[in-house]
Assembly symmetry: C2
Homo-oligomer: 398 residues x 2
Amino acid sequence: MVELARDLSERSSGLRSAIEALPASRIREVANAGIGREDAIPLWFGEPDLPTPGFICDAAAEAFAAGDTFYQPNAGIDPLREALSDYMNRLYGTALAPANVVVSASAMNALMLVMQALVDPGDAVVTTTPAWPNLPAVPKILSGAIRPVPLTPGNSGWRLDLDRLLDACGARAKVIFLNSPNNPTGWMMTSEQQREVLEFARHRGLWIVSDEVYARIVYDRPVAPSFLEIAEPDDRVIVVNSFSKNWAMTGWRLGWITAPAGLLATFEKLTEFNIAGPPGFVQRAGVVAVRDGEPFVEQTVARFGQARDLTVARLSAMPRVLLPRPDAAFYAFFGVDGMSDTVDFAKRLVREAGVGLAPGEAFGPGGEGRLRLCFAASLPTLERAFDRLETFMRGSHP
Amino acid sequence: MVELARDLSERSSGLRSAIEALPASRIREVANAGIGREDAIPLWFGEPDLPTPGFICDAAAEAFAAGDTFYQPNAGIDPLREALSDYMNRLYGTALAPANVVVSASAMNALMLVMQALVDPGDAVVTTTPAWPNLPAVPKILSGAIRPVPLTPGNSGWRLDLDRLLDACGARAKVIFLNSPNNPTGWMMTSEQQREVLEFARHRGLWIVSDEVYARIVYDRPVAPSFLEIAEPDDRVIVVNSFSKNWAMTGWRLGWITAPAGLLATFEKLTEFNIAGPPGFVQRAGVVAVRDGEPFVEQTVARFGQARDLTVARLSAMPRVLLPRPDAAFYAFFGVDGMSDTVDFAKRLVREAGVGLAPGEAFGPGGEGRLRLCFAASLPTLERAFDRLETFMRGSHP
C-alpha cells in the first residue's frame, strides 16, 4: 500500500492543476534576489512608507482593554458600517445605508467573497490588463476564466478602448471587473466611460465589480470617479474598497464591500464561510480612521502628489525610459527601451544598484518591457533611488 | 435598456445558485429570536466565556507601538511558525519544522485555503454528520460535493462506523474531511481509526483534511489523537488548527495549517489571493499565547472539565433528555424526546425560559431532534441555565 502511494504521488501532486498553474509572485522573486543588499531602496510593493497613525492604533489597544476579543457580526460592527456609509455619502453625495456595507478582512478578501457570489465554473470575468496579479487569480481559483482587454499607453497616460472591453463580453461573460484608479498603470476611468459600461451591463444583466482602493489617491480632484455615483440601488454594481492606502493600514487587513442591500444576507453567509470578519479591535480602529482620519488622508495625498511630480520629472529625463504620466494611484509603470526580461532586469537592478522595483511581467499581458515603481515614499528616499537608477540606466546593457 | 434590466433582475438574482442554496445560520436565527430578552443565558455559540488573557493582548499593543502595521509574509511571521512547530513537537513528539506551518486568519480561513487547493468542480469531500455547518459549505462554494456519513449516538458517546466512511469514498472522492474532537457531538476518533483511514487514503491517493481545533479540549488525557502523530512527511495529510478555543482568542481570527513542506509554496499563493495573512500584531500575540499560555490552557481545560461533569449530571437527570456523553470539546448535543422542529423549540426556549441553545437542524443530517449546548461557561451560569431548562422541560409541550 505504501509503495502504491509513492507511485501515485510521483505521478501527480494531487493538487488542482488550476492552483498549480497560478503564478507565484514575480515581485517576491525579485525581492528575494535583493536579500543581503542591506541598503536596497524597496519601491517594489504597493505600500505607503509610514506606519499607521497612533490615534488609530490607540483605538485598537482600548478595545483590547475593554475585552473586545469575542466573535463579531459577520457583516461587521454597526458603528463601522455606519461610519463607512456616512463617509461614502460625504464623498459621493450618495444615499447609502449601513445595509449597503459589509466589512471585509482586506479588499483582497472582499474580492474573493464577491467572486464566490458570482462566478460559476466556466463563467468569464472581463477585465483590463496589465493588472495587479491577484485579481485574475481569484476567478481561476473558482474555476472561472479571465478575458483581459489591454489598456494602451501614451504620453498623456494609459487609456481604455471601451469598444474592445464591451466586445470581449461574450456568451459566458458574467462580470466586468474594473480597477480604477489602476494598479499598476495609474489609469483613471472617466465618468463617461463608467456610464457607458453601466448601461451595457444593465442591458446584458452583467455584474460590475469595481475595485476602487485608490479612489482617494488622486491629484487633480478630491476623489476619482466612482460607480457609486451613478448606480441605482438595485443595479448589479459592487464596489470594493480598503483601509490600506488611505490610512496607512496595509497590515491591518481591513476593507469593505458596497453592494445593493439585497446582497447583504449573501455576503453575511460568505463571510461566515471564509473568515467571519476582521477582529473587533481592528474594526474599532477602522471607525476612528474613517471618522478622524481626514486630515491624515489630505496630508498623505499631498505628499504623494509631490512624489508623483518628482517621479515624473526624474524618470522622464532618464535615457531609455518611457513613462505614461500616471493620472492617479502611486505607481510609475514605465518602459525601458531594449529591456527584454523584466524579472532578470529587476534582479540586476536591486543587486547592482540597490533599487527595488517590480517587474512588468508580474502584471500579465501589457507588462512586458516595463517596471513598476511605487512612489509612496519620502522625497529624499526617492531622490536617492532616482540617482541610483539613472546611473544604472546610463551604464547598463539590455 | 433600463426596463430590460428590470426584467432580467426579476427573473433571477444573478447570483450563483450554489451560493443561494447555502443555508443562512439557523443558530443566528434563534439568537435573533432572543433579542429583547436581556437576561437570556447565551450557550448557543461555540465560544469560551472569558476574554483573551491580558498578557496576550499586551503583545499586540506593543507591536503597534513598534510600528508593526505593514504587510507580512504570506506564510506568517517566522517567530510564530517556529513557535507553532515547537508547540506541536512538544505535544505529539513529531519532528515538524516551520516549513510545515502556514499561519491563517482563523481555522475557517485555513479550511477555505485547503479546499481551494484540493477541490475541483465535481470533486467529493467525504465527511461525518452532524457537522458544524461551515464545513460542508466550503466545498459547495468551490462547486464540489459533500458525502456525509452519519455518526451514531449511544449512551457512551457518539461513534463512527469506519466501513461506512470508507465505502462512501466513490470515484469522485478527493478528500476525507474529519473533525475530531467533534463539534457538535463531542465525538473523539481513536488512534486506531486514524491509522485505518490513513492506510486507506494512501492506497487511494486521497487527501485527509483534519480539523483539530478542539485537540486540547479533552478531559481524560493531555491531547486528542492527531493525524500528525501517524503521518509520514509526504503523506497527503493536512491538519487545521485555531487559537480560538485554547487561548480564548475567538475574535482574533488566528489559526494555522500543518502540511507537507512541499505544499508551502501553494499555500503562500492561496493566502496571497485570499487575505495575505492575519495582521502582524495579531501574530505577535499568537507567539506569546503559544509560548507562555500553557498554564492558561490547563486552567481552561480544568474549568471546562468541571462544566462537563455538571452538564452531564444535570442533563442526564432531566425528563425527555437523551445525552450521549461527550468525550471531548465543550458541547452537549442532546436529544429531546418528542421535539419535532428544533428551530421552533430553541426559539421558544430562549423567549420563554431565557436559555439560548443551538438548534440541531443547524448541523445537518443527524441533528434532527437535538439541541447543542456550549458548556464553556462558569458553573453558576450553567446552574442557572439548567434550572431554567429543567423547569421548561417539565412544562413544555413538544
